[in-house]
């Protein structure tokens, strides 16, 4: 398998070529055949990732391939080198695998859209960017593709750009991400200023030489980037709006590419975070708040995709908790399992939408179990996995995170995470029950729900299998195959011993909590024992708080957007029009005025111009002769 070290470039190249071909030729030649290129290309990428993974797993050492030197500026060398260690290998499998399934799904989903070729140009470009982000061996390359991922998400969220809401959502995603990226960029610059290098290996080697304050600053700035990309509080607002993009894009963003980038980045740069306990604590706290807030919001939403979206935010919060608690492997493990069930949930809701002609509101669904059995069962598996029901994938990884937080000495955070787990289970099963159980609340006269075509159902089945089984690579907890695989990467970080008793205890607790959530959902939406409306009434302000997403958007609107707009208006009215334009216009008027004097010389007669030229020639030649220039002697 070692031969793959020379062929690593295939992994990013295949999607790039697909993107380029569809981009350049798509409009007038490829059109509806765009998937003929894109799907196999991402497939190739996935197939090439497998030997890379096997090689890394077998030899326990990283693979590198130097492609070229991007910036050779004296001492400052930025090589583009592909770097695959265990962490990257896992990410590669997740990214390319999920992306491939999403591509396959998209063939059926986007079929017939006038932007078909455009979609299949952006999608591989997204995969390329993410793969390069994962493969980077250097902060600058990482940053470039960090931005490229942002750009692709902008393009894809705004794919239906004729819809104002989609265009706005795309802009929102881009701008919110830019805020995080700004911090990230400063962090990278700070690294370069203090250490003089941007290569991972050298940075991690020298990070100990820095003062505690500097490391904390760098770590927090880097984490700002992760907050933006991975949708943590307070920058998570873009992710639910990103639902405006086509559903496969949501699946891609939520499961494989975009949002995992932040988690991956923190894990990748863990030596920096390990050097700063303060930063670790901040990460854990932000994660806990995110997990809880997002879970509560998800409970109150009616838009099926938004429920799943807030669920993503919440799960990303869990990953951040793990990162902050130093349970690195648990974070990656959750990322890995989450990719399966989150992609599954999105594709599942996509096929619900497909069956119901783009219906999104769960209040107008119900009883779909009978019409779309395949979608139902796969969605159920995904939901159960997300809710952490034993023995599905989510249970193992989430449980490990909570245990990790507990043993790392963050009991409060562990408790918050447990509370969030209850809400997770509640909103997940709420979604299942509202959508698939109960009476049919959709317009049965016009809508005939049905399971989707094979290109869409195959990914569902594959992902459902993954969601059910992926957890077992990490069994038994803390000692699983997955942990042994990733251990070399996180060698040398403090490792808290976990006693089997703790593990078992927390396993039992979270199972109970998950089942409690399941029961609550069933009671409210299937058995009818509880009236959701009455509960909402009782909770009053708390319910409204959650329903309005904790007023984050409104606060931003009031505190940032409106003052910024006001300031911009001031600049426009006063500075731009009053001073700059006035100066420019004044200069122009001056020119006009002086030109009025000179225009008399313009007779419009070519003959006169020619005469002037000839006169000039005679004078210049004469001047040369008289001045005794050496032109002629």
């Amino acid at each position: 398998m070692e031969w793959i070290a020379d062929w690593l470039f295939i992994i990013p190249l295949a999607p790039l070529v697909a993107a380029a071909v569809n981009f350049l030729l798509g409009r007038w030649w490829i059109r509806d055949r765009a998937h003929w290129i894109a799907v196999p290309a991402v497939g190739i990428s996935f197939l090439a990732s497998i030997p890379a993974f096997l090689a890394v797993a077998r030899q326990h050492g990283p693979l590198t391939q130097h492609l070229y030197t991007w910036i050779p500026a004296g001492d400052f060398q930025v090589p583009v080198t592909l770097y695959v260690d265990q962490l990257t290998a896992v990410m590669l499998l997740v990214v390319t695998g999920v992306s491939f399934l999403v591509h396959l799904y998209s063939v059926g989903y986007i079929d017939g859209d006038s932007g078909y070729h455009r979609f299949f140009a952006y999608l591989p470009l997204f995969v390329f960017s993410m793969v390069m982000l994962v493969l980077a061996s250097n902060f600058l390359v990482l940053f470039v593709f960090w931005e490229a991922v942002g750009l692709c998400s902008y393009l894809l969220i705004g794919f239906w750009f004729r819809r104002r809401s989609a265009a706005d959502a795309a802009k929102k995603a881009f701008i919110v991400n830019r805020i995080g990226d700004f911090g990230f960029g400063i962090g990278v610059m700070l690294l370069f200023v203090t250490l003089g290098t941007l290569n991972y290996a050298e940075v991690f080697e020298r990070v100990e030489t820095l003062s505690a304050g500097t490391v904390t600053a760098i770590a927090l700035l880097l984490f700002t980037g992760a907050v933006g990309k991975s949708a943590q509080v307070p920058l998570f607002v873009w992710l639910p709006d990103a639902m405006e993009g086509p559903t496969p894009v949501s699946a891609l963003i939520h499961a494989a590419t975009m949002v995992t980038a932040g988690i991956f980045m923190v894990a990748r740069t863990h030596p920096i975070f390990v050097a700063s306990p303060t930063a670790m604590l901040v990460v854990a706290i932000v994660g806990a708040i995110t997990a809880f807030i997002a879970a509560t919001i998800a409970v109150t939403q009616y838009d099926i995709k938004r429920v799943v979206a807030y669920s993503t935010v919440s799960q990303l919060g869990y990953m951040a908790i793990a990162l902050g608690a130093g349970a690195w492997i648990a974070a990656i493990f959750h990322l890995f399992t989450h990719a399966f069930f989150k992609a599954l949930l999105f594709l599942g809701s996509g096929s619900v939408m497909h069956g119901l002609h783009d219906e999104l509101d769960m209040r107008r669904m119900g009883g779909l179990k009978r019409y779309m059995p395949l979608t139902y069962w796969t969605f159920l598996i995904g939901a159960a996995a997300n809710a952490g029901i034993l023995p599905l994938a989510g249970f193992w990884s989430k449980d490990e995170i909570i245990v990790g937080a507990w043993v790392a000495g963050y009991p409060v955070i562990a408790l918050i995470a447990l509370a969030a787990a209850f809400f997770t289970s509640l909103y997940m099963f709420r979604a299942v029950f509202m959508t698939f159980h109960g009476e049919e609340r959709f317009d049965r006269a016009h809508l005939h729900p049905h399971d989707p075509p094979w290109t869409m159902s195959v990914p569902l089945v594959v992902l459902a299998a993954g969601a059910a089984l992926a957890g077992f690579v990490g069994v038994p907890p803390e000692q699983g195959w997955f942990h042994h695989l990733l251990e070399p990467v996180f060698e040398g970080t403090a490792h808290h011993e976990v006693s089997p008793v703790t593990t078992l205890a927390f396993g039992a607790i979270s199972t109970v909590i998950a089942l409690a959530g399941l029961y609550a959902a069933a009671a409210a939406y299937v058995l009818g024992a509880i009236s959701p409306a009455a509960v909402a009434e009782r909770l009053g302000p708390l319910y409204r708080l959650a329903y309005n997403k904790w007023y984050f958007d409104d606060i931003y609107q009031r505190l940032i957007v409106e003052p910024a707009r006001g300031f911009a208006t001031f600049l426009w009215r006063q500075i731009d029009v009053g001073i700059i334009d006035a100066a420019v216009n004044g200069a122009a008027s001056l020119v006009v005025w002086t030109s009025q004097l000179w225009r008399r010389a313009q007779t419009g007669l070519v003959a006169n111009y020619v005469l002037a030229i000839a006169l000039g020639t005679v004078i210049i030649v004469g001047a040369y002769l008289v001045a005794g220039s050496n032109l002629f002697r």
Binding site: L155, F161, R162, Q301, A614
Partner: protein
């Protein structure tokens, strides 16, 4: 006096006389014929200067193509409209001749006092003969040292061809340009759509259940196709 000098004076005299004829002839066709005569004599002088290839190029390009084209245009343009030479502008004529005389005096002085000479080149007559003649020598020089300029010249001629076509048939070129623009532009997202802040009633009428309320009671317009909201195709868009 050597025979070469005699031949030179003969050729140069005819060339100059013919050139004067270009300026003096009333009829532009006579001017053109004079110009041909002048060019042919200059070409003969090129032969004397060991530039056989240029002599032939001069005849083929200048007399064989350019002046023929001038004649062509002369005949297409209405003959009656050709302005007379002595168009009642004696001042301009006088100034022109004066300037010409002044320049001639200056250049003559420059030629006669000239002393600056560059280093002699390596293409002696023997060296030229060694590679097979003038044309081979020029070929070697042209396609090694002057590779880039000759490519640029090719480009210039192409541009001139297109320019001439544009001057002659603007509508033809514009049609092609429009097609090319449509086919080869790559457009990124170009937001054009429906404002969600508008009241629902003012939105386009729902077509086939396409308009609906999404979660959060927000008006969501599902516009999968361009036709729904835009009368005009987006810039560069091809409708299916």
């Amino acid at each position: 006096m050597a025979i070469e000098v005699l031949i030179f004076y003969l050729l140069a005299g005819v060339a100059i006389a013919a050139a004067a004829g270009v300026v003096l002839a009333r009829n532009p066709v006579h001017s053109a014929v004079s110009l041909v005569l002048s060019f042919v004599n200059v070409a003969a002088i090129y032969v004397m200067l060991r530039a056989e290839f240029l002599a032939v190029a001069q005849i083929i390009v200048y007399t064989g193509a350019i002046i023929v084209l001038v004649l062509f245009v002369l005949m297409l343009v209405q003959q009656q409209d050709l302005p007379e030479f002595h168009g009642g502008r004696p001042l301009r004529r006088a100034v022109g001749f004066l300037l010409g005389l002044a320049l001639l005096a200056e250049v003559a002085a420059a030629i006669l006092t000239r002393s600056l000479r560059g280093a002699p080149g390596s293409w002696t007559p023997e060296a030229v003969a060694a590679v097979g003649g003038n044309i081979q020598a020029i070929g070697r020089e042209l396609y090694s040292v002057y590779m880039l300029p000759i490519q640029a010249t090719a480009l210039l001629l192409l541009a001139a061809t297109i320019g001439a076509l544009f001057l002659a048939r603007p509508e033809l070129i514009e049609e092609r340009l429009a097609i090319a623009r449509r086919l080869f532009t790559i457009s990124l997202a170009h937001p054009r759509g429906v404002d969600p802040l508008q009241p629902v009633a003012e939105l386009p009428a729902p077509q086939d259940g396409q308009l609906k309320l999404a979660g959060g009671d927000r008006a969501l317009v599902m516009a999968r196709s361009a036709e729904e909201f835009t009368e005009q195709p987006a810039w560069g868009e091809i409708r299916r």
